[in-house]
Amino acid sequence: MNLKSAFEIREAVGAGKISAREIAAAALKRIEAVDTTLRAFITVEPDRVLARAAEVDARITSGDSGLPLAGVPVAIKDNISTRGLRTTCGSRILGKYVPPYNATAVERLERAGAIVIGKANCDEFAMGSSTETSAFQVTRNPYDLGRVPGGSSGGSAVAVAAGMAPLALGSETGGSVRQPASFCNVIGLKPTYGRISRYGLVAFASSLDNIGTISNSPRDMALILSVIAGHDEHDSTSAPVPVPDYVDELRKPVQGMRLGIPKEYFGEGLDPAVKTIIESGLRKAVALGCELIPVSLPHTEYAVADYYIIAPAEASSNLARYDAVKYGYRIERPEDLSDMYKRSRGAGFGAEVKRRIMIGTYALSAGYYDAYYGRAMKVRTLIKRDFEMAFERADALLTPVSPSPAFKLGEKIADPIAMYLSDIYTVTANLVGIPALSLPCGFTPEGLPVGLQVSANQFQEVTILRFAQAFSEAYPLQIPPLKV
């Protein structure tokens, strides 16, 4: 059984050709074979996985037919709550935390017959672009074991890329699904802000956070999105917008689609090998009958600075909840309450998380609020207007996902600014709240994957998925063998 296709698995399991338990056992076997090298998972509990799969089999036997994700293993990023299954956020401070409830996205997946196969490694509290800030382990890129998988949803991307699960949930605050998808040759979607409920997603920056999805094909992406998208009474920021049948929408043609090409995304800092691959992608789009339109997003150069004020400011508030009282790590023998807070947080959080809490606290503190956070919110308006103008003329935008292919382990971890700049093409979609997807587009001469970013206006996931389907169907890639 091919563990790369959710669609094939659910057809076979639904038709009784293979059991969910056999699929789960195969996924666990694959994890056992490759994950000692790749280290995509923080937590895998085989007994729990097999028991859940047996429950799905029982549901099918008792006549529960048509489960849209029957027996499909799904990797869940470790900042998304799973009832009874440890959820660490890649942080020492939550190293023993076991959620008493499921995230709504997880709840909907399980209702649809999916099996949570394990909890995927990530940068601590999703703060990072390489998965190296995880307190527990370093995840490796399956196309080059000396390189990062990207981040922060690196474990989720590697799980799908290496055939340990056909689908994964990640989370997106500034590119954390798209960039690892680009680095690992899988499809990664950051949906419209509010498209997927965030109930149970551990909060980082509430005006930017989304749950995102990772797959090997546009059809599987459409499938999982149809299952988990939609309003949720537990999340008042989830949008009360009807959910289309995304799978059905894939068949509609792309001829005449107007694709905006923003010149600011092709300038200085873009790796020449990436540029060549993206430009070949643009030519393929033309060959599919799409029209390329030059557009301009003039405030792009300020997006990273804007993001690195807004995201840390919101993070400094959200992470105030880690007070060593209700849950989480507490130091031994605190002198008093204040000492308990400071030393528990000092020892429980890693360096990048502390940097962001400090930057955010500074940007929100008396005397600096207007100069930093206030100004950043205004620049956000200008960035948003750029996109509104572009979408008056274009149905979607095509750009690179990341200025470079996967970088080497350790290359950027000591230089926060260098790491932040790897988000330059992705943070805008979060600031503006639009959907954007990383689509495999080619490989560099060194054999490293490069993704093409397709973005569209709010709630236009259908446009993005339709393009992805036409593109990947017409131009299948020659994929080099994995290094595991």
């Binding site: 802000y193 005006s207 009360p240 004020i309 009282v325 309450l337 205004k378 926060p416 709010q458």
Partner: protein, 98 residues
């Protein structure tokens, strides 16, 4: 904006974060570099621009923010306390406050 150790310690107090003495110099330098980088927003003319604190959703979004004030079941005490680092029978326990 130049940042020194004492300013870092002041912010750390606000953020309730302890820093080890030997890490402070490296941290202060990194903090300074990040602040220098984000300073570039000062070049943008934002006069008359309204702030965006939250990306807008559907026009009738606000009506979904409210619900009836009904009593519903909440998490049982035992589950609420299950992750506590220190607890009594039915409460969280903390060190002395005063």
């Amino acid at each position: 904006m130049p940042i020194d150790r004492s300013e870092v310690l002041r912010i750390a107090e606000l953020a309730k974060l302890h820093f080890d003495e030997q890490d402070l110099d490296v941290f202060t330098a990194q903090f300074q570099r990040i602040l220098d980088y984000i300073e570039q927003l000062k070049q943008v003319n934002v006069e008359g621009v309204e702030p965006t604190s939250h990306v807008s959703l559907t026009p009738d979004f606000e009506k979904h923010l409210f619900r009836e004030d009904e009593v519903k079941a909440s998490l049982p005490v035992e589950e609420s306390l299950a992750n506590a680092p220190d607890r009594g029978n039915d409460h969280f326990r903390v060190p002395k406050v005063l």
